[in-house]
Symmetry: C2
Subunit: 431 residues, 2 copies
């Protein structure tokens, strides 16, 4: 049987979904290229990863805590298990140890990566044709893609020098209200956002929380890269500053532990009043929806993450500090290599510039020519270097002259060599 | 922050989502009860489950097949991995060995359980406000719940003595067309459907495929319970009879391997013609959507399932045959206990009846009184027996006098004792 794509759901024609396929295809076509494209974590930290040991650590804990025999504890791995998760207590404890959140395990839903947490949260909060979601542009494609899949309309809010264009967001909120609609939430990554690398300072974080209260918005906080801050420079997350349950925290274990476990979480401590007068948490609603998406997160995967937390005193930050050293080093090497190979003056084509994030996985570069898939293909085939075109991170088709360089999973010599090649390529193709 | 549920997505108020929460809550409240409620597989088969060994079996295969060093093969567990899956070749081979499907691994998408396969398939096929999905009623709640979550309208088609009311479905297709809409697909479980236990005979399967071609429908085949057929009695699945890629097969490893891995799959070999004239498979579209739901299925979980397949000659059916013996035994014990404890005549309240499926996990019972949550609560608190009210399996509020008894994960003495208690309860409460 054959049909045309316009017989399928519209999200499949969205460039956001198409670009991921294109990038995977380019990477498969040039397996030997030095790739600044994917934001994957470095594997060096997994030298001591021992699947069976991590699982056993968790099972020993679960047996003791729940008063189970070793055999019965092992059954936890085999069965479906609760939709909301098995390791919610460990997630809540890590968030308390690391950020002082003091939230109940009942407010946690363990998800298949932060991506499922985004999908569930968007679905719970948005009624079709009624609720809009605002995103800070440029924006992680996972949230825009999930919104497209759910037919949720998005509003783009621009980044500014000091953070977010709140005037623009206020205007969008009012326009929505005038239209009988509502901007329900703002998705924001306050720490080294993907792809911009921007950090919101403390005053901006507080202003954002005030703004959310005034305009009756929720904030969907994605803090995947907060752990990469230089020692002593980390700021409290929005959820840590949140006194009125305005923030839903979307979390991941992919960057600090490992992507292959596919474990993330949502913290959703908002109160929902049901028609029969009972009260529940937004987390309960997310868990109900999760029954219809993945039923539950693999208990094997949860045990792996639970074991890693337990072996590190229950703290995710303790694991993250160790990892952060490498990412700080790689980012420093990437910025130094750019300075060295594209020095100001004759060595740097006019119109080539980049930002200097203090953490995270990414540097954002601007070119005097379109940084599109045709340019990427040329750079890959002739210079063996890959990067990510930025237009997919914009809702409005801007960003066409920007590219994203990720340094997270490369080794020092690859970073140096990759930037040297990229510099030669840019000197050749830029006018 | 607090809000009312009518500020949330409408699916959260749907009884289908609510009932799952209620059942979990009842089971948690009566942990000592004999539960005929959940359709979970028996754990006895997992006596020899060795997580590390299964993973190593898969890694040895992957290393050899892809020419990877052992270290590099191990990295497959750590990384994100392709959205469409890692073990697609093993899934395709198992389907070929077991059912002669002869499909390409490219037509397979590995998913987080069959549930995610349902969600992705519904999403790809249905445009908002335009496409409808038909389901055979009573119907597995996973498909109705996923449709609700995606705002997809459903059409109920009744079961008949010999299968499916195709006249009713034809009428529904015509009514949709007259309304400028389209019934895009029919969800059907041809073998021991959950919850009805019905099996479509071979002639009905062929008639259904002809019907689908004539009315231009897709068939979404869920074959979770096919492996429980008595030896020699299995019928070819719809996908095995499908000559025109009319069938999307939604598969699970939960019942034969283990639920805890959360691995399922879709086989979607339909051709999609894109606007630029290129062709791809529906499986490619499902994989693109999966990026926005769970990114990819945990490679650790996939390695577990891959290892189990490899250790059984690549066949899922070989594993399933072993398991089927227990389910055949349990079903026989359940039916015999019902006959014994509710004998015709004075021992059986008027209006109490049940069906006699030849396989699967479930028996469906009809009562002369509402089999609702109040009755369940009474049965649990006073007789220590749990079951599943059936109204959630109907779209139209019927089925209120039916309950489902699952025998899959109980032991013989529990089945006997549970039915004895249920019989006493029914004699007490039925008029």
């Amino acid at each position: 049987m054959r049909f045309t794509r316009d017989e399928l759901h519209g999200s499949l024609a969205d460039p956001v979904l198409g670009t991921i396929g294109f990038l995977n295809e380019v990477m498969a076509r040039y397996p030997e290229a030095i790739s600044f494209a994917p934001g994957a974590p470095h594997l060096t930290h997994l030298g001591d990863f021992d699947l069976a040991r991590h699982v056993e650590s968790y099972l020993a804990y679960a047996a003791e805590r729940r008063g189970l025999s070793p055999d019965r504890a092992r059954h936890l791995l085999y069965e479906y298990g609760p939709s909301r998760g098995l390791i919610n207590d460990l997630v809540a404890r890590a968030l308390d140890l690391d950020q002082g959140l003091g939230i109940s395990p009942d407010a946690v839903v363990v998800t298949v990566g932060a991506q499922e947490a985004m999908l569930l949260t968007l679905r719970a909060l948005c009624r079709p044709g009624r609720d809009l979601v605002a995103v800070v542009q440029p924006c992680f494609v996972g949230i825009t893609g999930a919104a497209r899949l759910l037919d949720i309309d998005l509003v783009a809010v621009d980044e500014t020098a000091d953070g977010i264009d709140l005037d623009g967001l206020r205007t969008a909120c009012r326009a929505a209200r005038a239209d009988g609609r509502r901007v329900r939430a703002l998705y924001v990554a306050p720490d080294f956002a993907n792809p911009s690398g921007t950090v919101l300072d403390l005053a901006t974080r507080r202003r954002l929380l005030d703004f959310a209260a005034r305009e009756d918005l929720l904030l969907l906080e994605d803090n995947a890269y907060g752990f990469t801050a230089a020692p002593g420079s980390g700021l409290p997350g929005l959820k840590a500053l949140d006194e009125d349950a305005r923030v839903v925290l979307l979390g991941t274990f992919a960057k600090v532990c490992l992507p292959g476990a596919r474990v993330g979480f949502a913290v959703a401590d908002q109160t929902v009043c049901t028609a029969d007068g009972s009260r529940r948490l937004l987390a309960d609603e997310l868990a109900a929806l999760k029954n219809m998406v993945t039923v539950n997160t693999s208990p094997i995967s949860q045990a792996v993450i639970g074991g890693m937390l337990l072996e590190n005193g229950g703290s995710l930050a303790a694991l993250g500090r160790d990892r952060a050293t490498l990412y700080q080093r790689n980012l420093g090497l990437l910025l130094a290599a750019l300075d060295r190979h594209l020095p100001p003056g004759a060595g740097r084509p006019a119109g080539v510039s980049w930002n200097r994030p203090a953490g995270g996985f990414f540097v954002r570069m601007r070119l005097p020519i379109p940084a599109d898939t045709a340019l990427l293909d040329e750079c890959a085939s002739r210079y063996g270097v890959l990067w990510t075109p930025m237009d997919q991170f914009y809702l409005d088709g801007s960003g066409a002259d920007e590219l994203r360089l990720s340094c997270s999973y490369l080794d020092p010599e690859q970073i140096g060599e990759g930037v040297a090649r990229l510099a030669r390529f840019l000197r050749e193709v830029c006018p």
